[in-house]
Amino acid sequence: MTSLSAPGFPEDAVRARARGGTAAVFPDPAGYGTRLYGPTAATAADALDRARIVPPVFMPERLEKLIDLAREPEFSDVDLTTGVGGFTARLPLYLSAFGSTRAGSGDLAVHAARQAARLGIPMVIGENMVPVHGYRRSGDAVRSVLRARVESYLEEVPDGFGGIVVQQSTEDADSEVWNLLYSDPAFRPLLESGRLAFELKTGQGAKPGLGGMTVVGRAEAEQLARRFTVADVFGEDSGHRLRCATPGTFTDEILRQQLRFMRNNFPKARTWVKFHPGRDVDRAARTAWAAGADAVTVDGAEGGTGWAPGVFLDQVGLPLAECLRRIGSPDGCLLAGGGMWEGGRALRALALGARAVGLGRAALVAVDEDPDHGLERLADALALELRLLVSALGKYAAGALGPEDLWWPDGPAAPAHPTADAAPRDAARPAGGVA
């Protein structure tokens, strides 16, 4: 365990799961027989967390499973294997991008990569890794952080599962990151097994409309000044400087054409795109799918491991629930990030159309707690909760979830899938409500 902390995030609970795994899903067994349990006191929750998961009484899909199995189905019969952006994942999870912040680009990221590989889930490598950390130095004598993550992942990933996704943003494009990787022999096994994707990053949850920001020392700031804007916002006496990347300019035509370029130039790589929680995220997602994107990742305003101005963290961007509501029934593979760490929130995102959910801060905290197995234990706990919840809903595959599995106490039923039994968008909806 290092000194990593995640205020505002259920850090203690994540650490408990990183230590205890599936045991942490349940109350302490030491209290069994002597303590009575009920709902815990309500904690501050966003709109997605306020939705209740509501199993039906009548379960025709359970009957189908019963007929199939010739016995009563159990929660262990739930199949969580799913297709994620052209890959096969053992769980409806992926390891989110960490970016080039200090917390996300050091040893923790390498530990997270190794564990994500063992779990058989895809891993996204964030933007700005190459412009900041370099790619290949001293004739390969020193492994770059990016390559260390890739090699750790490849050493552990089971055949047929997982995949690596590499983001590229404006400054990465200057460094031609995708070109570097596509022709690097180290990536040949991924290309040959169809397990490399490139993700066009247009934004992130923590700071919609802004490019990546990190804090750097004075010496590093001078080195980076040629590639990034470096601003002196902490005062002249401070040893710190603000390194700013540009967010990139997008219109629907720019997005469409960039995706086509990706498919044209890197035909053996899958094409992913990640959006910040913008007010037109539904239109952006549809444009991306129509242009052939294998996956669209939406980062809710709760998302991002990133360091960002306080006003952005607190006040900017749509909550994940509203992003998913606006997108409605997805035209392709939809992935969701933003405050994911346990099965209930993940299930709600899946029920609203996501194919998988991303672990960002939770993954970093978990590997910080236990570099060898923390993320695996966290994912095991989450997977157990998902199996319990999905089977409680009378379903036996993650992809079978739907908006009917949720109830919204803040208002009328969420029209998450407009093609289903949904109400039209309601202009009079209470502000902040998901419905």
Binding site: Q168, T170, E171, A173, D174, E176, N179, L180, Y182, S183, P185, R188, L200, G248, T249, F250, E253, I254, R256, Q257, Q258, L259, R260, F261, M262, R263, N264, N265, F266, P267, K268, A291, G292
Partner: protein
């Protein structure tokens, strides 16, 4: 009938000394020097001026299909070896409204291209640019160039070509200036009908291009590639958005693409927007964009691959056989 390409992947080059001593390379270089002389004669006869291209610059053609540029340290600045001098061709139009280069290019092609027979890391192209020209003007020059070069080679060194197994009758159409024209959409439809899964938004893939080339006895142009398959400098058709005013010239009998060309974007705001659409950061292209803001002449032009042309004429299987110092994609060579 030309010898069709072998169905097995071409062998890789022998050690350099052995390669340089081979009679086959000598024959190929004899053809190459006739090609170069004929190309220069033709273009100079059409009032073109030969310039020598730059070798390094702050930026080069962004390329496509996974090809990348090599970095060089230029007084501490990250410069690129030219993958194509297209941007310099455009800038040169102010002083040289009809210009050409015999341009060396370096492209680190993805390893998957090592077996196409049509890719080298180091190659040359006959690079032509014409101020005020349309696509059709550029196609006329490209076709005229190919016709003239073919005529000259069959006149100057027919024994070399027949010694390599070439049949003069197979070049009758080209020497007579007969070419077919198809659109990209038509090419895609033919491939899909033949059971080849061709992406309609993209470049014709290597296998698809070979299929098209194999099923014809006559060279042909493919016009109107979709935006998203080519560089930002290929001009979008104002009357047909999403379609480029560009072309390839494909050789028959499986030898594939010889030429890529287009009308060029010359409008500053359009160039910047197109750069973004191709994922480029305009800041990299500062010098070029300054020229564009000041006004680059409208133009059309093309690049004809020298080694591809020599391979087509000699009928050899792979580009490395017509290069004195071959570097195949992914194969480290001296």
């Amino acid at each position: 009938m030309d010898q069709p390409q072998p169905t097995t992947a071409p062998a890789t080059p022998p050690p350099l000394g052995e390669h340089l001593r081979s009679p086959r390379l000598r024959a190929a270089m004899t053809v190459q020097q006739e090609v170069l002389q004929a190309a220069r004669d033709y273009l100079r006869g059409q009032a073109f001026t030969e310039l020598l291209p730059p070798l390094v610059g702050p930026v080069t053609d962004p390329g496509g299909r996974g090809a990348k540029a090599l970095d060089v340290d230029y007084y501490g600045h990250p410069y690129k070896l030219m993958t194509s001098a297209i941007l310099y061709k455009q800038a040169s139009l102010h002083g040289f409204p009809r210009l050409f280069y015999i341009a060396p290019n370096v492209r680190v092609e993805p390893e998957e291209t090592a077996g196409t027979g049509r890719h080298l890391v180091e190659f040359h192209q006959i690079d032509v640019e014409i101020a005020g020209a349309s696509r059709e003007d550029a196609q006329e020059i490209a076709a005229g160039l190919l016709t003239h070069v073919t005529e000259h080679v069959w006149t100057a060194v027919p024994d070399v070509l027949t010694g390599l197994g070439r049949d003069e009758a197979d070049f009758a159409d080209i020497r007579a200036g007969k070419y077919d024209v198809h659109t990209h959409a038509e090419a895609v439809a033919r491939l899909v009908a033949a059971g080849h899964p061709q992406n309609p938004d993209g470049e014709i893939d290597w296998a698809g291009e070979r299929l098209l080339s194999l099923e014809t006895d006559r060279a042909f142009f493919v016009d109107d590639y979709p935006k998203g398959s080519r560089g930002f400098y290929d001009r979008e058709d104002p009357d047909n958005p999403g379609v480029l005013r560009n072309f390839d010239l494909i050789a028959p009998h499986g030898f594939g693409e010889l030429v890529s060309g287009s009308e060029r974007e010359a409008d500053y705001a359009t160039i910047v927007t197109r750069m973004r659409e191709s994922g480029e950061n305009p800041a990299k292209y500062a010098w070029y964009l300054k020229e564009a803001r000041d006004g680059i002449p409208a133009s059309a032009g093309f690049g004809m691959g020298l080694q591809r042309l020599v391979r087509f004429l000699t009928g050899l299987d792979a580009l490395w056989q017509v290069s004195a110092y071959p570097k195949l994609p992914g194969v480290v060579a001296p």
